[in-house]
Structures are given as structure tokens and as C-alpha cells.
């Protein structure tokens, strides 16, 4: 067998964020002549700025109201975007292909019924602060469907129900690295003949106080007036989250060719690790990962979609890695995609990969995402693209995306 038959091709992309819906909307905004401004909501969740989701008519991908009612917003968002990716890949509605589509979804979940929580919290410390009262309130006020709408594996479950993906269904958890692992495991399985056709991705709804709480227990969120991604380090750093969903269809080259699928790009390499994060270990890890991607990254123009999350010292280390690349003789164009989309946890890496696939297919790269990034005219052609995503405290991932020759 030709060993390249199991190369990993990206044949479908669904992407939704604060910037818009779909590849075209993102491409137009991110390559426009004028410096793009991030879309922000600064008052509703103050002191936390967030990037709110663009208005979406969910019924375009989730026609049954009854299905929509069964889902939390993050699930609706993910099911919607998964449908976009399936349609884009020419798989939607094709039962023969859906039956062999393996799904790996990266999911958090836990969207709470905040009004019920607030009412219960009010009883704390009062005369009604008793377990019996709490039990009664939970039994009466929780909706049965709400449990399912906050359950991590039910994003994948709803994708099966709404879009008919039934080959297999797995859900990875673990914040941004879950999004990375979902793609990495799918790619490895394709390379080793453990499946030919995959749907991978994740969704994150930033517009919720319960989600902000989950993160700011770690004091990692940026508060107060907005600062661009690469400028936050001087004030201690911090993450600004964004509502994003990204799904991709990955398939073997052989499978894509056989069904005449039009690929965006090839996922030529993907590696992950877990450094101790002491003494610049994350930077050393990234250097090592570049070597593992090895000869596939020739010196010359190199596009770098960094998933830097804004939290320190991780973000300064990612910036230092861009400098390392320059020192190694690469002509680097750095774009922190979290600067413009916000950090989107499980959806973050899939979103970066979607942007990389899109740029590869267009043979052009993006204008700077924030003012501190420099223009690099030399990357206005088919340069390889590396995409990174690191957790704020654990986990480092790097992928290489190339144009298909």
C-alpha cells in the first residue's frame, strides 16, 4: 500500500465565533485591508470582558424545536457547527458515510440553571439552611432535561440524534487539551488504519457566569478594561474567553480521493506533551515538538497560529517560541488566534486548525490579529502553518498543516 494513502486530509470545516458564521465570513474579516477589531461584550459579565457569539438561527442546522429545547446553548452551538462541517464535507444526509463516521468531541459542559442555583444559595445561612429544604428545591425546580443539557457526552449524543453520525461516539474532557487530543487521536487512528472518516471538534459558550466561575477559581481570567493578547503580560496576564465552535471532518487521503472530496489541507503532523512548566520547560517542549515535526518544516516562510491563552507565564513562553523560530531562520508570521476569537477552551485548538486549513486552501495568510503582530508579506503564499495550543498550566500541543500539492 502507498504509505501516503493514510495521510490525514481536512475535508470539511464548520466555524462559528464572535466574528461570524462559516469560513467565508471569517476569511473576509481576517484578511480585510483594515486592522480587524475584536468583538467584545464588556458590561454584561463585568469585570470580565468576553467575545460574544454572533447571532445564529439554530434551526438552519437543528430544524426540530423539540431537539433545540433538549440542549444547552453550548450543545446547540456544537450541533450547529458539526452540521456545517458535515455539509461542507459532503457527508450530511449520506447515510452510508454517516454510518462509518467516527466522532471525537471535546466537551466541558456544566451549564447550570443559574436561577435555581441562586435561589438555593439564598437559603444558605438562613433559617432554611437545611438539607431537607435543598432536597425539596432540587426535586421541584430542576428540569429533567436540564441534566442532559449540561452533560458532557450529550453534545456528541445530540450530534448523533440530529445529524445521524453513528460510526462511533467518544467525548474527551479536559479543557483546551481535550480539543487537541480529539484531533490528535483521530489523526493517529487514520494514519494507522483505525478508521477512515472522522468528525472532530468542540464548542464553548463563554456567555455564562457559571463558566467564568469554573475558570476564575484559578484566577486566570482577565478583568477590567480590554487589553490585546500580547500586551497583557505586563499586567500579570489573563484569559479573555470567547464563544466559539469549530468542527472538522478528517479523512484518509485514500477515502477522500475515492469519494471525490475536495480537501482544504493536509494535517501533516500532530504532537503533544506535558511539561512541568518550570524554568521554561514549555518552551523546551515546543522546540522539541518542532524537531519531531522535523524535516516537514523547511526553513523559510512559516505561518504560526498560536493558541496562546493570555495566562502567564505560558503566554510569554509562546511568544518566546515565535522568537526561537525567527532565531532558527524561519520567516515567521505570528498570529494569536485567541486575540481575535477569545480563548475558547475545548473549541480552541479545533478553531485554530480550522483557520489553518482555510488559509492553506486559499494559499494566503491572515492580516495581524492584533496591533502588536507584524505584517509578513512573505507568507502571502503557501507556507506551512503550525498551530499550537497549550493549557494555562498543563499540556502543550503542536500541529503542522500544509497545502495539498
Amino acid at each position: 500500500m502507498d504509505s501516503s494513502e493514510n495521510d490525514v486530509w481536512i475535508t470539511g470545516v464548520g466555524l462559528v465565533s464572535s466574528l461570524g458564521e462559516g469560513c467565508d465570513a471569517h476569511w473576509q474579516k481576517l484578511t480585510a485591508d483594515t486592522q480587524i477589531e475584536p468583538v467584545l461584550e464588556t458590561s454584561a459579565f463585568a469585570p470580565y470582558p468576553i467575545h460574544p457569539l454572533v447571532e445564529i438561527d439554530f434551526s438552519k442546522q437543528i430544524p426540530r424545536r423539540a431537539d433545540q429545547r433538549q440542549m444547552g446553548k453550548w450543545q446547540r452551538l456544537g450541533v450547529y457547527t458539526a452540521g456545517m462541517a458535515l455539509a461542507d464535507a459532503g457527508i450530511a444526509g449520506n447515510e452510508t458515510l454517516l454510518e462509518k463516521t467516527n466522532m471525537i468531541v471535546a466537551a466541558g459542559g456544566g451549564e447550570r440553571e443559574v436561577t435555581v442555583d441562586a435561589a438555593l444559595l439564598e437559603t444558605i445561612g438562613g433559617p432554611q439552611d437545611a438539607e431537607a429544604i435543598r432536597n425539596e428545591m432540587l426535586m421541584n425546580d430542576l428540569r429533567p432535561t436540564h441534566f442532559l443539557s449540561e452533560l458532557s457526552n450529550l453534545l456528541a449524543g445530540n450530534i448523533s440524534i440530529v445529524h445521524g453520525v453513528i460510526g462511533s461516539s467518544r467525548t474527551f474532557m479536559g479543557e483546551e487539551m481535550a480539543g487537541f487530543s480529539a484531533v490528535e487521536i483521530a489523526a493517529r487512528r487514520i494514519q494507522h488504519g483505525q478508521g477512515e472518516l472522522f468528525l472532530v471538534g468542540g464548542a464553548y459558550n463563554a456567555e455564562r457566569q457559571d463558566m467564568l466561575l469554573q475558570l476564575d477559581l484559578g484566577n486566570i481570567l482577565w478583568t477590567g478594561a480590554y487589553e490585546p493578547l500580547w500586551e497583557r503580560h505586563s499586567k500579570g496576564g489573563g484569559m479573555i474567553t470567547g464563544s466559539v465552535s469549530a468542527f472538522l471532518v478528517l479523512e484518509s487521503k485514500k477515502h477522500a480521493l475515492a469519494r471525490g472530496a475536495q480537501p482544504y489541507a493536509q494535517l501533516s503532523g500532530i504532537v503533544s506533551g506535558r511539561s512541568t512548566r518550570t524554568q521554561k520547560q514549555a518552551l523546551r517542549m515546543a522546540e522539541q515538538q518542532l524537531k519531531m515535526l522535523g524535516a516537514k518544516v523547511p526553513k523559510g516562510p512559516l505561518a504560526f497560529l498560536s493558541g496562546a491563552c493570555g495566562v502567564e507565564p505560558a503566554t510569554s513562553q509562546e511568544r518566546a517560541f515565535a522568537q526561537y523560530l525567527a532565531d532558527q531562520g524561519y520567516d515567521v508570521a505570528l498570529r494569536g488566534f485567541g486575540a481575535i476569537l477569545g480563548h475558547s477552551m475545548e473549541a480552541h485548538f479545533p478553531a485554530g486548525l480550522a483557520l489553518a486549513a482555510l488559509a492553506s486552501s486559499k494559499e494566503q495568510f491572515y492580516r495581524p490579529f492584533d496591533a502588536s503582530e507584524s505584517e509578513s508579506p512573505s507568507t502571502d503564499r503557501a507556507a506551512p502553518i503550525i498551530v499550537t495550543t497549550w493549557g494555562p498550566f498543563h499540556g502543550e500541543g503542536m500541529a503542522l498543516v500544509e497545502k495539498i500539492a
Partner: protein, 426 residues
């Protein structure tokens, strides 16, 4: 050397270490003794008040110290228990340095009422309400430990630190099939040749009030509170829901070649794994059983096993009206007349439904069945369901040579995974 590869040319995957903890006890020996004696681990809940709740029983692990107690904290503690036992049995690696990746089935992380209360009462003078007050407490920078544990990858990160597994740990949830999925991911990694060994764990410590209420509201739980040990009665006519439980099982899996080379004792083989997703309903299977049937058939195919080879079926057998009926119909569709001659039992009749951990715990018991030639019973088999004709190994264990086991896991959300587990080739 052909025995080191399966008929598809893939590395054979063997198990060299097993650890388990359930409400029945700590470790393989305690559990196996209780399980084969038909002991129930289901009791009245003492962990929290059940006043006003329709279900007041569960299987709880109360002999592992976790302070402060939380579902996440208990899931972590139970996983440490089972992984420590598995690694010790395998005699692999060095302390704090396991030579392979971690695949972990763990419940979705969530703050519970104890944590919310701690946050809410942090500033007694606050005039804020609801989440604004919780967020203000978070900004005090006093809750970093809570942050770490209650991330979705929190338990996995701590286990990776403690056992020194390689690379990025993978935490996953496929509902009640999660434990089997963790095993499947480890098997796939070894088959790809990426690693010689993998640590696969399923863990769950979710018996807390809100989890119980949520399953109650879905009408999924048994409400037969009067005799807790009788409540879980898989495949019986009067079954009325599952009984929540918790526990953990861990495995050291290795390539046969690597295990042999280091002289490890081989405890069994994972012959095959298979899955199939259902797209019918969030909590119910397709009426024709095609997703469950597909999962079983894909598993047999992956294992290269025929229906005649299966000596015993370790059922998903939750004791819900829906699952047990669908599981029987699916098995009948695959095994046909053969089914009547295959003993099948549900460990959940004794330990309850350990949810995220179930697929792993039941795989552990399946390996022990193979090793000892003893099939644990289905207890509470007193009122047979006339529509379910199965040899349930009712109420008393049975001695029988068992070489190959099919273990089923069917989850809410349509995630179905089965395993074929076997003895080491003679």
C-alpha cells in the same frame, strides 16, 4: 513469534495488572470473595440527607478518606486506589514513573453544593447575590485548589502527576460506556505501536445529592428503598431502575511482546473492542436494537471471534426496564439459539451501577472470571421476566471453565462499547 500478533497483524494486547475498588471492598481479593458469594454492596445512603427524595439507597464507598468530600475528590481517591493495586501487580516501571500514557474514564467535573456554600459564605458581609457573589469569592485568590480539582481534566492531571504516566493524559466520558472506552483507547494505542504499555482507569464517586436527584427526575433509579440489597434486580420482572454506585478499576495493558520480554505474568488478553452510536433518543435505544447489535457485532469482528466461542457474557444489566429488555433483544439478535447455552450475569445486581467506572469494573471482574473459572451470580433473581430467556446464573456462583467473555456497556447519549476478553493463548 506469530502469537505476538493477532490475525489482523496487530500487536496482541494483554493485561498484566488489575486493581479494583467498589462498595464491596478494597482490592481484587475482597471484591472477588464478596462478589462470588452474592453479597450486595447497596445500602441506605448515609452520606447526605435523603429526606424528600424518592430514592434513598445507593452503593457508596465509605472506607476511603477524602477531605473535603466531593465527587471529584472521591473519583481521584478511588482511581489512586485501583491504579496502585494494578501497577503493583504488574510490577512495571518505577515508583512515580509509569512507562506509558493514561486513559481515564472520569465523571464530568462539577462544583457541588458544599463548594458553592464555601464560596458563598467566604465574605459574610457581602451584599452580592447568586453567581456574582461566587465570582467575587473566586477573585479572592483563596480557591486555587478547588480550581485544579474541578477542571474537567483535573482528576487526570493529578493521576498523571502521581503515577508519572507519559505525555498528555486523556480524560473521557461516554456515559455508562466510559470505562470500556478507556480500555479501547489504550488497546488502540498499543496496537498502533505508539507505546508498549498503557494505564487505563475508570472511576466514579458521584453519589451526591444533585446527581441522585437528576437521575431520579429521569425516572432512571429504583425506588425500592425498603430492602436496599434487593433493589438492583437485573432482568427480573419487577425491576424498576438502576441503583447508583461508585468505584474504580484500573488496568495495566501491554503488548504481548513487551510483557513476555520482561517476564510479566499475563492475566488475560483484550481480543477486541467495538462500538456503535445510537441516534434514536437521549436516554433510549433504537427500538430495533440496531445500535447495540452493531456494537456487539463490531466487537466480535474486531476480536475475530465467533458467537460459538463466547463462554460467558458479562451483561450491562442495569436493572432498568429499558436496558435489560433491549440488551436481551440485541444479544438474541446476534447469538440466536446459541444464547440459551451461554451463562450471562450482571455484576450490577450486587455493586449497583458504577456509571463512568462500570465498563472498567466489569472488565476487571470478567478477567477474574477467566482466571478463576468461577462465574459470579446475578442476585435478586427471584421473579423472572417471562420475556427474557437467559441463563442468568441466578443467585449462586457457578464453576465453569471460561476462556472468552463478552462484556457489554450501553450508555445514555447513545454510546455503546463492548469488549471481548480472553485467557492467554495456551
Amino acid at each position: 513469534m506469530s502469537e505476538l500478533l493477532d490475525e489482523k497483524g496487530r500487536p496482541v494486547v494483554v493485561v498484566t495488572g488489575i486493581g479494583v475498588v467498589t462498595p464491596l471492598g478494597r482490592g481484587r481479593e475482597e471484591n472477588w470473595r464478596a462478589l462470588t458469594n452474592g453479597t450486595s454492596g447497596i445500602t441506605e445512603i448515609e452520606r447526605f440527607s435523603t429526606e424528600g427524595l424518592s430514592t434513598k439507597i445507593a452503593g457508596t464507598v465509605n472506607f476511603v478518606d477524602v477531605d473535603p468530600l466531593s465527587g471529584q475528590g472521591l473519583a481521584l481517591a478511588l482511581a489512586i486506589e485501583s491504579a496502585t493495586e494494578a501497577i503493583a501487580q504488574a510490577e512495571i516501571g518505577t515508583k512515580g514513573s509509569f512507562p506509558g500514557p493514561l486513559f481515564l474514564a472520569t465523571p464530568p467535573a462539577e462544583l457541588e453544593w458544599a463548594q458553592r456554600k464555601d464560596l458563598y459564605t467566604y465574605d459574610q458581609d457581602s451584599s452580592e447575590k447568586g453567581y456574582a457573589r461566587l465570582l467575587a469569592a473566586a477573585r479572592s485568590q483563596k480557591f486555587f485548589d478547588m480550581y485544579g480539582l474541578f477542571q474537567y481534566g483535573g482528576v487526570g492531571d493529578r493521576l498523571a502527576d502521581q503515577f508519572g504516566t507519559s505525555g498528555q493524559p486523556i480524560s473521557l466520558s461516554t456515559a455508562c460506556a466510559s470505562g470500556a472506552s478507556a480500555i479501547q483507547l489504550g488497546v488502540e494505542a498499543i496496537r498502533r505501536g505508539e507505546t508498549d504499555a498503557a494505564l487505563c482507569i475508570g472511576t466514579d464517586g458521584s453519589v451526591h445529592v444533585e446527581a441522585l436527584v437528576r437521575f431520579s427526575l429521569l425516572s432512571a433509579l429504583s425506588t425500592q428503598n425498603e430492602f436496599p440489597e434487593k433493589a438492583s434486580k437485573p432482568f427480573s420482572k419487577n425491576r424498576d431502575g438502576f441503583v447508583m454506585s461508585e468505584g474504580s478499576a484500573a488496568f495495566v495493558f501491554e503488548s504481548y511482546a513487551s510483557a513476555k520480554a520482561r517476564g510479566a505474568k499475563i492475566l488475560g488478553v483484550v481480543r477486541g473492542c467495538g462500538e456503535r452510536a445510537d441516534n434514536f433518543h437521549r436516554t433510549r435505544s433504537k427500538p430495533d436494537g440496531s445500535a447495540n447489535i452493531g456494537a456487539i457485532r463490531n466487537t466480535l469482528k474486531d476480536a475475530g471471534a465467533t458467537i460459538a466461542e463466547i463462554d460467558y457474557i458479562n451483561a450491562h444489566g442495569t436493572s432498568t426496564p429499558e436496558n435489560d429488555k433491549m440488551e436481551f433483544l440485541s444479544l438474541k439478535a446476534v447469538f440466536g439459539d446459541h444464547l440459551a447455552g451461554i451463562p450471562i450475569s450482571s455484576n450490577k445486581s450486587m455493586i449497583g451501577h458504577t456509571l463512568t467506572a462500570a465498563g472498567a469494573i466489569e472488565a476487571a471482574f470478567s478477567f477474574l472470571t477467566i482466571q478463576t473459572g468461577v462465574i459470579p451470580p446475578t442476585i435478586n433473581c427471584d421473579a423472572p421476566d417471562p420475556d427474557i430467556e437467559l441463563d442468568l446464573v441466578p443467585n449462586k456462583k457457578r464453576a465453569a471453565p471460561v476462556n472468552i467473555v463478552l462484556s457489554d456497556s450501553f450508555g445514555f447519549g447513545g454510546q455503546n462499547v463492548c469488549l471481548v476478553l480472553a485467557a492467554e493463548p495456551a
